[in-house]
Each structure stands twice: as structure tokens, then as C-alpha cells.
Amino acid sequence: MPFLNAQDAEVIRRRFAADLDSPVKLLLFLAATGGLALPGEDWQIAEYTRQILKEVAELSDKIQVEEYGLLSHADVAQRYKVRLVPAIVFLGREDYGVRYLGLPAGYEFVTLLETIIAVSRGRGEVSEATRSVLAALPADAHVQIFVTPT
């Protein structure tokens, strides 16, 4: 059963058509690929995540999903510094270092859509003053934002 009803899908399709710029690649890291479940893995969350990304990718030809297993593609996981699954790596013109860990459902589905659009455009919506602070940062910042799906 699809997550998105026809009406929501149409709204998102239009938003993507209007706002997407560069192609976006979503790298989905799961414990195992191909629908296999490892013992102890929450396969349902993995399956939902896979399904959500699939449906979103169908709404624009600029969005592409690639699926990797944390163990079976250890080299890829390492390259993108993925250690926990499910993880989504957002790639636009480059890797901007944006990751989503977990199932992007509920209110966080909006986060997924907005992140895709921002990565596609290659810039966020921040003020010039904020940009100058960012440009002057003397060291790296890794930001973790903890959310819940409601």
C-alpha cells in the first residue's frame, strides 16, 4: 500500500518541479539489501524507509535512490561515514554532509522533502549575516538534531 495518496503525491510532484535544481542522489543504507532481514534487525522500519524513498523518487526524475547494505557495502558506508542504519545520505552537486538517521515519516517526512530541495539547490535559506559567520568558522562543526516523528 502506498504511503502517499494521489493528492499529496501531486502536491509534492509540483513542488519538486518548481523547486528542484540539480539532480539529487539519495543513498539509503540498510542493514542488508534486497529485502533480506538480519536477525534482530527491525526489518519493518527498513522496509518503510525503502518504500518512502521509492515513492518520493517517483515524483521527480531528478531524484535517484541507491540502496546499500551496511556490511555488504562496507567500503561505501565508510566513504560516507555511515555507521548506523537506516541512514539516508543526501548528495547534490556535492556531498554537503547532510544525513538522516531513521525513518523519515510523520512530520519528519516534510524534513525529508525540504532537505531534498535544499540539497538540490545547493543552498539553504539563511541570512547574509549567518553566511558570513559560517564563512568565518575556524573549525568544523558536526551538528546532530534529535527529532521524533510526531
Partner: protein
């Protein structure tokens, strides 16, 4: 996206309980920067970028104040960068100050050590001890808002974001 120095993980807290435990996530959104700095709540952009800059420089809040001079070994090699940063932050804070509506300048001062029994859902995670820091800051009127923290009894402080009227009524 705006800076190659900044990377971001959005973490669904209920699916990663180990991470949520490690970072004491009791309320969302909770933001952790470089494993060393944290706060709860969606801060307005100027506050967020200020918190980010302070976390990056590892400084307790001195940066961005007038006359701030980076010092010490940790800053030696990036002194110049920090000075640029301080200038940029001042701009952010001046813009922030200009945007403060007059009504929020009349915040009630709550004495340090005063116990407040805040209800859930009023912008803080749990009842705690309200502590107030006073320092000269270009934030000016916003000091009242940004320098208040709830000490939650776990050696952590939670910034009180947003609901100042709730605090006043408590």
C-alpha cells in the same frame, strides 16, 4: 550546505535509543554540536548560529563580545579566523537586537536559585532550577532571554527557549 565546515545528522531519536541516551535526549528537537555543546528547542536563526560559533570555538560565550581577544594555545594558530568570526557574529547580533520587539524587553528577572515548577510543553523538558547568568553582551535586551537556563539536576543546563510569558506566570 552553506559551509563545508558544517555537517548535519538528523536523528530519529526513538529508533536510536543508544544515541538518545548518550546525549540525554529528553525533549526534541535537541541539538548537539561537536559532542560538546547542546541545547533543546528550535532556536531562531541568529541564536542558532551564535550557539554554533561558540561551540566551534569552544568558548563559553566570550566570542562576539566587544573587545574580545582570542587568547591561549588553542587559539594561537587560528587567531585571525576567530577575529573574523567575532566581527561576523557581532553583525548577526546587531541584526538580532534590532529585530527584538519592544514588549520582550520587559522580561521579568527571576532570581538565581528560585525554584520554578514549569508545566510540560512550555518549552522545557522538565521542572528544574532556573539559573541566570549575567554578563555584558552585545545581545543587549536579549540577554534576559538567552542567558536563562534550566538546570535539570543532571549537571546540564537547558536553554529556555520561547515561552517567556509562561515563565513569568509560573
Amino acid at each position: 550546505m552553506e559551509s563545508p565546515r558544517v555537517t548535519a545528522d538528523i536523528v530519529e531519536a526513538t529508533e536510536f535509543p543508544e544515541l538518545a541516551r548518550r546525549y540525554n535526549v529528553y525533549a526534541v528537537p535537541k541539538i548537539v554540536i561537536n559532542d560538546t555543546h547542546e541545547f533543546v528547542g528550535a532556536l531562531p536563526e541568529p541564536h542558532f548560529i551564535t550557539a554554533l560559533a561558540r561551540a566551534v570555538t569552544g568558548d563559553g560565550g566570550a566570542i562576539g563580545r566587544p573587545g574580545f581577544q582570542p587568547a591561549g594555545d588553542g587559539y594561537a594558530q587560528r587567531r585571525e579566523g576567530v577575529a573574523d568570526l567575532a566581527g561576523a557574529l557581532l553583525e548577526v547580533q546587531q541584526a538580532m537586537q534590532a529585530a527584538v520587539p519592544a514588549s520582550s524587553r520587559d522580561l521579568q528577572v527571576v532570581e538565581p536559585g528560585e525554584d520554578l515548577d514549569l508545566r510540560m510543553g512550555e518549552g522545557v523538558a522538565e521542572p528544574g532550577l532556573l539559573v541566570q547568568e549575567r554578563h555584558d553582551d552585545p545581545l543587549g535586551p536579549l540577554v534576559d532571554q538567552t542567558a536563562r537556563h534550566l538546570w535539570d539536576g543532571h549537571n546540564r543546563v537547558l536553554p529556555v527557549s520561547g515561552s517567556m510569558p509562561a515563565l513569568r506566570g509560573a
